[in-house]
């Protein structure tokens, strides 16, 4: 609110400065109230996420248990105000773990698309706490650049083993958002920049990794998938993001 007042006074000063100097003594200053467009109630965020993966099969793709992810989210306040409200939105994470498993290049890509249902409440003038539930679906794509793989075209190279797995997911998180600042121009939306941190837990269906050649069926040949154990694309996670509300 203090920033809004500051901007209004600045607009008044601008009007005063724009007037001819001679007229300054004769014309009473006109009070111009800078009006802003009403808030849409949208929040866009971009950040990073660190998520602990479950299952021994994840070891083939990472030297530790954590996967780094990019997270993008959009939400809309369906009720309430900036200070208290309920939101609905969508959330997308993309993560990748890559390593070498016994000398073989390995990679595991994760994509999670979730529907987000959240609530927030301002507890201090710059601090808002929030919580959310996010049901969704997660897609895992595991790949190996393994040279013992048969080529359908025996003169080909760079063949890989791969597997794609879809699973239902649900995550719950709670966190806090710190308001960094606002940009308020007359007759424009007030844009507010936030830094958010949240932690939570994600549940998702496990899969037993069985990577097979991605070349399709070959006549007279039966391919045996490479079994790498189970992976559970969910667990403890932490999100850090920058968010913009307007």
């Amino acid at each position: 609110m203090r920033l809004d007042v500051t901007l209004s006074l600045a607009a008044l000063a601008a009007v005063c400065c724009a007037a001819p100097p001679l007229a300054r003594a004769q014309v009473q200053p006109e009070l111009v109230q800078a009006e802003h467009r009403p808030a849409v109630g949208l929040e866009l965020s971009l950040g990073g996420r660190s998520e602990r993966m479950g299952g021994g099969g994840f070891d083939a793709f990472s030297e530790n248990r954590w996967m780094a992810e990019l997270t993008m989210a959009a939400s809309y306040r369906i009720t309430g105000s900036l200070d208290d409200g309920l939101t609905i939105g969508a959330l997308w994470n993309h993560g990748r773990a890559a390593s070498r498993a016994r000398g073989t290049d390995s990679s595991l890509d994760l994509d999670r698309l979730s529907l987000s249902l959240g609530a927030h409440r301002t507890v201090w003038r710059r601090l808002t706490v929030f919580g959310r539930l996010a049901p969704g679906a997660v897609r895992l794509h595991a790949g190996l650049a393994e040279t013992s793989i048969l080529n359908a075209n025996q003169y080909g190279t760079n063949t890989t083993l791969s597997q794609t797995h879809w699973a239902l997911a649900m995550e719950a998180a709670a966190g806090a958002a710190f308001r960094v600042g606002q940009l308020a121009r007359p007759r424009e939306h007030v844009f507010t920049l936030w830094l958010t941190a949240e932690g939570g837990y994600a549940l998702a269906g496990s899969t037993t990794l069985a990577l097979a050649s991605n070349q399709g069926p070959v006549p007279a040949r039966t391919d045996v998938p490479v079994q790498l154990g189970t992976v559970t694309p969910g667990g403890l996670f932490m999100n850090f993001a920058a968010a913009l509300t307007f």
Partner: protein, 538 residues
């Protein structure tokens, strides 16, 4: 409030610690040291850096199953049993080092791995040399050349009786050879012998300069040492091989022949003794120049003789074990090796009740030509043998491989040239096969009706029908490192068999064919990443 805060941060730190642990060492273990072995019903891959043996089995439908058998830490060596029933693995355990964090210390051990399970014999020390009894009863462990011990005694042997359960101090039993400067070079397990004091088996240990005879009935008892010399001075002679004969029925004619590198042969006859059940009586016989091979043979009227190959003189020498008298047999070529083929050649008993042996003569790896010959022992007027019949093998034979199975009369003769021969001992024929390159490896089928041919590193593979002599080429989809024929795990009669072409690229792969249908059907199963499947895999 302060207490709650500490509890919160403690919980957070604990969760972080749980989540930040490194992954299993398995995933960073190199695959370089892995080594394949062909069990009768599985391909066993010793994977020492991952601390396991991978067993790859198949069924009649070519379905492939992989499973891991964990090994002790400190892998030293692995050897396959002669009958392919077991894989013997020696591990040093932690061997004085601290075990990995959170794990109990492991001691040296001999692990015997089969598709049915594994047995472990704890050892008193870490040894890396393995000598196996062809009859499957004994294993001898000794300090081989790759020992990493700071100090080791190469003459200290551990004898494991595989028919008995492990028992500290009893099985394995330790036996230190009395040494005069030598250390073990070769081990020979005899068949049961009618020795004075009873039937028993012997372990013959050749060192660089003497031969030790260990009584396997009393493996801890002191051995008999036969010191070798030229007979003219004290210069030590070096044993090059031994041959053992049980002689005729009765206890006093067991003979041990020792081939020396100085042109002599020592015949030790085991006779009754006072201090022990038997003691050797030695007889040194000069055969002219360095003998390269020898065997006990039955000559005329079943008389026992020692046949010794002396290629430097282009002859063989027959040694009478009783008198030491020798008879030279001139040969048409400088044959250096001989194998008795009496039973397979159909000549057994050809002279009535007294058998006369037939020997196959062939060149050793060091010789260049001369092919093979059949030496029919016996005697005819004017010469001490019945016949020496050469077979028109034009290339120097460097290996003789038994076909076995339904065709024991067949042998595959390997040469250095781009050719090999199929020798029929009964028909006395040698069918040549020309190969596209030298270095072709031949693998007889267990059934004996065909042989597989391949070149390491090439994807070319051929099936040779040993009855019709028809070869059929085929091509695998990747370079073949080794080829194995194994029995299907779900077929107790072992009638269904799989041909496994192993490639050692990447983390190893295999192509599995139906051994009976190869050439007629291209259906196969492809396996990749054999060494990649971790212990977490189902």
């Amino acid at each position: 409030m302060k207490g709650k805060s500490i509890a919160f941060w403690g919980l957070a730190m604990s969760l972080a610690a749980v989540g930040c642990g490194p992954r299993s060492d398995f995933w960073d273990a190199p695959v370089d040291g892995a080594q394949p072995f062909a069990l009768a019903d599985a391909v066993a891959i010793a994977d020492p850096s991952a601390g396991r043996v991978v067993l790859l089995t198949t069924d009649a439908a070519r379905n492939v199953r992989e499973r891991s058998v964990p090994l002790q830490r400190g892998y030293r060596a692995a050897t396959l049993a002669p009958d392919r029933s077991k894989l013997f693995v020696v591990s040093a355990g932690d061997d004085g080092k601290l075990p990995p964090a959170g794990q109990t210390a492991q001691t040296p051990a001999l692990q015997i791995v089969t598709t049915a399970g594994q047995t472990t014999y704890p050892l008193s020390q870490a040894l890396d040399g393995l000598a196996l009894d062809p009859r499957g009863q004994w294993v001898v462990l000794y300090a081989g050349g790759s020992s990493t011990e700071l100090v080791s005694n190469p003459n200290e042997l551990l004898l494991v009786d595989l028919t008995q359960p492990p028992s500290p101090g009893v099985n394995p039993v330790s036996h230190t050879l009395r040494s005069f400067g030598g250390k073990p070079q070769r081990f020979t397990f005899t068949e049961p012998l009618e020795l004075p004091g009873g039937t028993r088996r012997l372990l013959i240990v050749e060192t660089e300069q003497d031969v030790a005879v260990v009584d396997l009935l009393q493996p801890a008892a002191p051995e008999i040492t036969i010191q070798l010399s030229s007979g003219q001075d004290a210069t030590p002679a070096h044993p090059q091989g031994v041959a053992v004969s049980d002689g005729d029925p009765g206890p006093n004619d067991v003979r041990l022949a020792i081939r020396e590198d100085d042109g002599n042969v020592v015949v030790a006859t085991m006779l009754p003794a006072t201090a022990r059940d038997f003691s050797p009586e030695l007889n040194l016989t000069a055969v002219g120049s360095t003998p390269t091979d020898m065997a006990w043979v039955r000559t005329d009227a079943g008389v026992l003789s020692l046949a010794v190959m002396v290629p430097q003189s282009t002859k063989a020498v027959l040694v009478d074990p009783t008198t030491g008298l020798t008879q030279d047999v001139a040969l048409p070529a400088a044959y250096s090796r001989l194998s008795l083929v009496t039973a397979q050649s159909g000549e057994s008993g050809s002279t009535g009740v007294a058998p006369v042996d037939v020997a196959l003569l062939w060149n050793g790896a060091g010789s260049g030509n001369g092919g093979v010959a059949f030496w029919e022992l016996g005697r005819v007027a004017g010469r001490p043998y019945r016949s020496v019949e050469t077979v028109g093998v034009t290339a120097g034979v460097v290996s003789v491989t038994d076909v076995g199975g339904a065709h024991p009369e067949l042998k595959i003769l390997g040469t250095r040239q781009a050719t090999f021969f199929l020798l029929d001992l009964q028909a006395r024929t040698a069918a040549p096969f020309v190969t596209a390159s030298s270095g072709v490896t031949l693998l007889p089928s267990t059934t004996g009706d065909r042989a597989w041919a391949y070149v390491q590193g090439s994807s070319q593979l051929a099936s040779v029908d040993l009855v019709t002599l028809h070869p059929q080429d085929m091509r695998d989809e990747r370079p073949i490192s080794s080829l194995f024929e194994i029995a299907a795990a779900d077929d107790p009669a072992h009638a269904a068999r799989s041909l496994v072409a192993l490639t050692q690229q990447g983390t190893w792969g295999a192509t599995v064919y139906d051994a009976a249908a190869v050439g007629g059907a291209d259906a196969h199963t492809a396996v990749a990443g054999i060494l990649l499947e971790g212990t977490d895999a189902p």
